[in-house]
């Protein structure tokens, strides 16, 4: 989705403002929003969750602080998935309807957060691209979730590594299955992305799935 979340290469979006001795959460509510998002039954998968934040309308998204975005996307997802009604969200009070799920326990969640997981999946077909191959990031503009940023579309890079077949976000985010696809580390020269004025010593590497790429 060509949303404002896809920010790579834009200018004038505010100060960097690094902060010394920054706390993990700046107010207790930030920690609660973060924890609710992790524990919520709307956390179907990571890609679905990311897409919920991308669905915040651009004019709202841009000025929000980070955890305001999480609050908004969690509230919206609860309604979208039918776990709560708009009326409940607006009134701040639960209606009498019973729960549809058994909440995960603290132990279960913390174990999940700390266990070794993997997004690697089996795929019988061989990878289409070899290390060192030149590839072009396809010019696609999907309406749904994608992890192919606009700033590399149409540009040529070099395959630097293959991570194996990984869960494909474009499919997983719309709950259409994991559809594993080969994932490649692809490096683009600064001048290829940003033109002749770019620093000649700059390169940018992205991890891109095979359907994002074509031979160049």
């Amino acid at each position: 989705m060509n949303g404002v979340h896809d920010m790579g290469g834009m200018a004038n979006l505010g100060p960097l403002a690094p902060e010394d001795n920054e706390p993990v959460f700046h107010a207790p509510w930030e920690g609660r929003v973060f924890a609710m998002t992790i524990a919520s039954p709307t956390r179907v998968n990571l890609d679905y969750g990311r897409h919920q934040r991308e669905l915040i309308p651009g004019p709202d998204y841009l000025p929000m602080t980070y955890y305001e975005r999480w609050f908004r996307s969690l509230s919206d997802a609860l309604v979208r998935r039918g776990f709560a009604t708009l009326e409940e969200m607006e009134s701040g009070r639960a209606s009498t309807r019973s729960a549809k799920v058994t909440p995960r326990s603290a132990g279960e969640i913390i174990t999940g957060l700390s266990s070794r997981g993997s997004y690697l999946r089996e795929r019988t077909a061989a990878p289409a691209f070899a290390i060192g191959a030149q590839v072009r990031a396809r010019n696609i503009n999907p309406a749904g979730h994608t992890r192919l940023p606009r700033y590399v579309r149409g540009h040529v890079g070099v395959i630097e590594r293959c991570h194996g077949a990984h869960v494909f976000p474009d499919s997983n985010a719309r709950l259409a299955g994991e559809d594993p696809q080969y994932l490649y580390g692809v490096r683009f020269a600064g001048a290829e992305l940003w033109g002749e004025e770019s620093d000649p010593r700059l390169s940018v590497a992205l991890d891109l799935w095979e359907p994002y790429l074509e031979p160049a």
Partner: protein, 202 residues
């Protein structure tokens, strides 16, 4: 390096003053409906406030500085190498470690959201998630580094890593000069979070 005036949020913005009330209301809805267990919320907050943080990554870097065989394993397969030290979990399923040298400086960003190696560095700082960093790091890394007080020599190659998949990047900074006599724990204390993202030199 960083500015010395206190402020809560990058972007120079503040959330609405009633956020804590709105979040409280949402939490009561979720708890009343039986969708979340409040004890699990406490546990999650505690896990990220106390259980993980940049000291984990610092331990990995210090080990790499002092143990050449470990460094080799780390550069070849960081996921397995950091698991040797017990670091694994959500947002650290697949890890790649990249080395800063006299010729190469690495910088990590997530332009699309806020991908970050949680088991190694904890949750990301506000600046890492800011619109400014996400937009500028890939096109003007030297300008960004300058704002962090880092100047990169003309001849040095800059490699930016945009974390677009479930692969998380850890920068292995150059070992600071004058740290020869230090042991692994003392070296780990020298390693900063920004050093492992690439926005600081040690």
């Amino acid at each position: 390096m960083a500015h010395d005036h206190p402020h809560d949020h990058a972007e120079g913005q503040h959330p609405p003053s009633d956020m804590h009330l709105r979040v409280k209301a949402l939490e009561s809805i979720l708890v009343e409906k039986g969708l979340v267990d409040p004890a699990s919320l406490d546990a999650i907050v505690e896990h990220f406030a106390e259980g993980v943080g940049p000291r984990n990554g610092a331990q990995v870097v210090a080990r790499a500085w002092t143990d050449a065989a470990f460094r080799q394993r780390l550069v070849k397969d960081a996921t397995s190498a950091v698991a040797e030290l017990g670091f694994m979990g959500s947002q650290g399923e697949h890890v790649v470690a990249v080395e800063n040298t006299a010729q190469v400086h690495n910088l990590v960003v997530c332009t699309l959201c806020s991908c970050y190696p949680w088991p190694l560095l904890g949750l990301p700082p506000v600046w890492y998630k800011s619109n400014a960093y996400r937009s500028r790091a890939v096109i003007d890394p030297k300008g960004v580094l300058h704002e962090f007080g880092v100047e990169i020599d003309e001849g040095v190659e800059i490699r930016v890593w945009d974390s677009t998949a479930e692969v998380r990047y850890l920068v292995i900074p150059q070992r600071p000069a004058g740290a020869e006599g230090l042991d692994e724990a003392e070296l780990a204390a020298r390693v900063t979070r920004n050093g492992m993202i690439g926005t600081a030199l040690l």
